[in-house]
Structures are given as structure tokens and as C-alpha cells.
Symmetry: C2
Subunit: 343 residues, 2 copies
Amino acid sequence: MDQDSNNKTKKEPTISELRQDLVSGTWVVIATGRAKRPEAFKEQKREAFQEPLGNCPFCNLGDPEKEKDSLIYLKENGDWSLRVIPNKFPAFKKARALNKKEEGPFFLMDGVGFHEVIVTRDHTRQMANFEIAEVAEVLDAYQERYLALMNRRYINYISIFHNHGQEAGASLVHPHSQLIALPVIDPDISRSLSGSYNYWQANKRCVHCIMIEWEKEYGKRIIFENDDFVVLCPFASRVAFEIRIYPKEHRPYFERITDKEKFQAAEALRIGLNKLYRGLDDPAYNFFIHTAPCDGKAYDHYHWHIEILPKTAVWAGFELSTGIEISTIEPEKAAEYLRGIQT
Amino acid sequence: MDQDSNNKTKKEPTISELRQDLVSGTWVVIATGRAKRPEAFKEQKREAFQEPLGNCPFCNLGDPEKEKDSLIYLKENGDWSLRVIPNKFPAFKKARALNKKEEGPFFLMDGVGFHEVIVTRDHTRQMANFEIAEVAEVLDAYQERYLALMNRRYINYISIFHNHGQEAGASLVHPHSQLIALPVIDPDISRSLSGSYNYWQANKRCVHCIMIEWEKEYGKRIIFENDDFVVLCPFASRVAFEIRIYPKEHRPYFERITDKEKFQAAEALRIGLNKLYRGLDDPAYNFFIHTAPCDGKAYDHYHWHIEILPKTAVWAGFELSTGIEISTIEPEKAAEYLRGIQT
């Protein structure tokens, strides 16, 4: 029954497994490297969030050589402004083989991939209050790491995300983003891609472009636009005050963003985050980039974008059971309110 | 642009809209009837959870006639033991028409359906500490309401769920379950159904039956079994200490449960909940029933079950972005720990 017994050639122990749900096809990660004693789950609700400033691991990063930085940006004074480091408690790790296995009717493989943290210098100031150039630097780092990892062996999808606030799953106050490069494309991602593909096939046009065109005509859900990007509350918002940021032109691949577009995207992201910060009194939120997979296939029908999901509600039984989310404000009203917030 | 202007024949205002995401096909509910001022979202994180006992609305329910009870169970002493009442802040409401609309490229319809609350008598004692007969009475009420609503016009899916604890979205301490009968079947549900159907077509057997058979042989993830039900931590657990309860025999439809099976299911559910209560120190959790839709089609390939998801982690950017969840304990270890907990 131990399917692992022939695989003792690995140098390092695996830190996680990817297991596939046999019915829905969805993948889950069992992060054994982060595992705690079962009893530890009792106490976790009482874990402290706010560390004393002096103890912040990101304020006290060591030598870039020792920390195995994969990227470092310096200020004029020689101090660093941004560093990309391996996650200390990674959910995915580099390995020589995927080590696919079966257990009875089930499929699993090792959690092979990369898990990096993008850290900015200032402990207290959050992204909503960054200068545009500072946000652009963060996007720069996202792009640089994406390009560096997208052609690595076994890497088929790269997720880039930022958690702010304890309710949104951030374990540290110090602003940081994460990048996870992984070998599988979940059905959740596939559904969005295939919906987009089917629309392209049927209508010879990008579904996102059609939405953006309509939103510009309709106007009520738009919060901000500049030359290259539009910021809006989507028609089918999953949560109250959900925000999406789309390139106005058809752009499938985030990693091909130009420097000019990057600055425009930074302005759009900074304004979206700042309006939430001011309008909702610093809510917890997650934002992430949805872009085409890097599995070598063409996704010219896709249209990359950023989604910002403020933590305005708790997922409960109905959402978990059906996948249908209940939002308690019309996106039109949320957009009207956010349009009125000065940034 | 106002597509609603021709639909003024409705007697009552709608309380919600179902909007479909154009790309993924997923539905969301915009519950305008529950809407708050935008500014109110600022304050909600400070809302009190625990009401003084005397103010509990479920302890102070009025006359069953006035409350429009759809079900009431009485004790021998004449007091009620369980009541099913309409939700005071429903996400779905009875109506004469779905009122399907288009807005530009988007589709929406009114939130037509039923939203009921199943309330038990005791304010403080939670389901984990119920007697088996009391749990069986709750399952009785689920079944009775399911049967009463499943053939109503526009009803295609019925979600039955129970939220316990504030972190799991429960807005009141007093134990209660909810039933939402709705007109749409979300792609999330469809994916599970079609996965099950495809397996049935390819292998001429139920995928859930195959899993249960394997789990019984493997043994490591099983927590408890009785004549008719098995309680286990699933191979691809979405969260730490996830529990599923399956009928051992192939049973597609929850609403056809027999009285004998109901008592066995109650014992299984009570043991699952009680092990979490004792083993994890009263965690917040959601449980829900996954069963075949009631849209008039045959789902003989499906296998109903109960899923219990303790709130052991917060969904963050990675989960929201990819649909892949990260769990920090192997289901085998979680099951071993829970097996050892005395109930």
C-alpha cells in the first residue's frame, strides 16, 4: 500500500503533496512541511498577529547571499527597497521529479514548484499608501520573477497574490506579496479559461473586451480609468466592493506588460487600494493576478487582470456548499461610493 | 438601459438578484434586500456577536401563526422542540416569475426561492452535544422541508447547511440550520455532478462507492462507522480536519432517507461534530448536505453525503486565485487523532 517505497532517490524530503479530488478534479495541497501537532489546531485561534516591530522577520532580513534572494532592488543610498526571497514555510519546493503516485483510486504528486515572497522595505506603510513608482516597482518584481520561472520544468501556472490584514490570511503586518509556481492548472482556473475560449470561438471576440466595452458605455460600475487600464466593480461581484483592473486593450499575458503600461497599472492598483483604504477604513483584502497559464499552450483568447477582494464577509455554509456567493451591496452602488472617495 | 422598466407587475419588491459571471458561468447573489449603506461596511468588523440571552430572537419567537412557521415539532410538555421559520433577512424569496433579464452582455434574474431557518429549542447547547434523537429530529426537519419544497415551481437545487461560530459566518449563537431553495445549479455543483456522471459512464460504478470501498480497505482515514454510514477525513481534504459522512450503500437522494437510516446518520453526525468539539476545543465549523438536484432530471449516479468543514484556516489570495486549498495536516493524521477522541 505504500506507493512511496520505490522513490527513495530523492535528496530532500517533500514538503507537500498535491492531491486530486476524484469527483470534481480539484487539487488540494497537503502541506506536510508546515504541519503541526493535531493539538496545535486548538490553540491557533489565540495566536498573536502583530509582532513587536523589532521582531519582524522582514525588517531583519540577513545578507542577500545567505537568504538566497532571487531578486534585490536597491535605493540610491544603498539600502534595499525590495527583495524577493524564498518562503520560509513553502507550500511548494523545487525538485527533480514530480513523483506521480496512485493510492487506490486516487492520484497525487509531490508539491513541486517555487514559493517566493516579495518584500518591500517599509514595515508600516501598506501598498494603498505607496507612491505610484513604488507600486510599479512591485509590479516590476512580479514580472521579473514570472519571466524567470515560467519556463522552468514542471511549471504550468504561476499565481501572484497579496494578502493584507489578518482576516485575509496575512500572517505578518509587514507588506509582502507571494508568488507560487506550480505544476497543475486547477479546474477553477480552467473554467475561466475555457469560458473565455468558448466565447472566443462562438463570437470571434474576447469576452473580457466585450465586458470592458459595455462597462464603459454603461458607466455605473467604473471607478477610474487612465490611458491603459480601467478600474471597476464587476457585474457579478463575488464580494461587496470587489474591484477588478483590466488592461483596456486585449492583453492575454501579464508577463508581457511594457514599462509604460506598468506605470499605468500601478496607478490603477494604487487608486483601487487607496479608495478601499479610505472608503472602508482599512479593510483586510486579497488581490491577485489572473493571467494565462505558462504551460506552453497558446491562450490568445485570454485577457489578464487584477482582482481585489476586500474581506467584507465570511464564507459560510451556503457559499461553501454551492459555490454561489452572497454579496450585500449592488456593484453599482459600491462603485458610486468608491468613485466619490478622494485619493 | 433600464431593463426592469417593463416589469412593474410584481407585487413585492425583489430582495435579491442572481447574476451570472460571463466567463466562468458561476452565479452570485446580490442581496439588495439585506443591503446596508456603503459606510456601514466600515463598522461591521466591530459588530457584536454574542447577544445577551434575553435578546436572542430564537429564544423569543412569537406565535407560530404569526411567525409563519412552516414546521413545528412539540415536546410532550407542549413546548416546542424545533421550528422552521422564514429567514428574517432572506437571500431568496417566493415570487410568481423569475423575471430573467439582460444587461448588455450579462444575464440576471430575480432571487426567487425559499430561505428558511431550522431552530432548535436550547440556546446554549450546540449540535455536537445533542442527544442522537435530537440530531435525528433536525434531520427529520431537513427532510420534511426538502420534500415540501423540491417540486415547487422554479426550484432546481436545495442547499441545507449549518454554521457554528462567528468565524464560520454564524450571526447568532443559538443553534440553527438554514435551507435555501434556488432556481439555479451553479457550475461548482455541476462539476461534482458531472465528475460523478463521467465516472459512472466510464466505469459503470459510482465513484463515491469506489472511494468508500477503498477507504474501508485502507482504514487510515476512517473515524467511525455504524450499520449504514461511514465517517472519514477525505483523501483530498480541503481544510485540516475536514470530515465527510457517506451512506455506505449507494444512495443518490438525501430526501429518500429512511427512518432507520436517519437515526444512523444522526449518530454519525453527532460523533463527527463531538469529536471536533472535544479534539479541537470547540472550533467554528460549517456543515452541509450535498445531494442530487431536484430539477426533475435523474441523478442515479450521485451519492449524497454530509461535509463538515472546521474553520481551521482563512482563505487567502492563493486559494481565492487558484481554487486550490492548502491544508496543513495530512488527513490520515487528522483521522488518527479524531479516532482517539472519546465521545
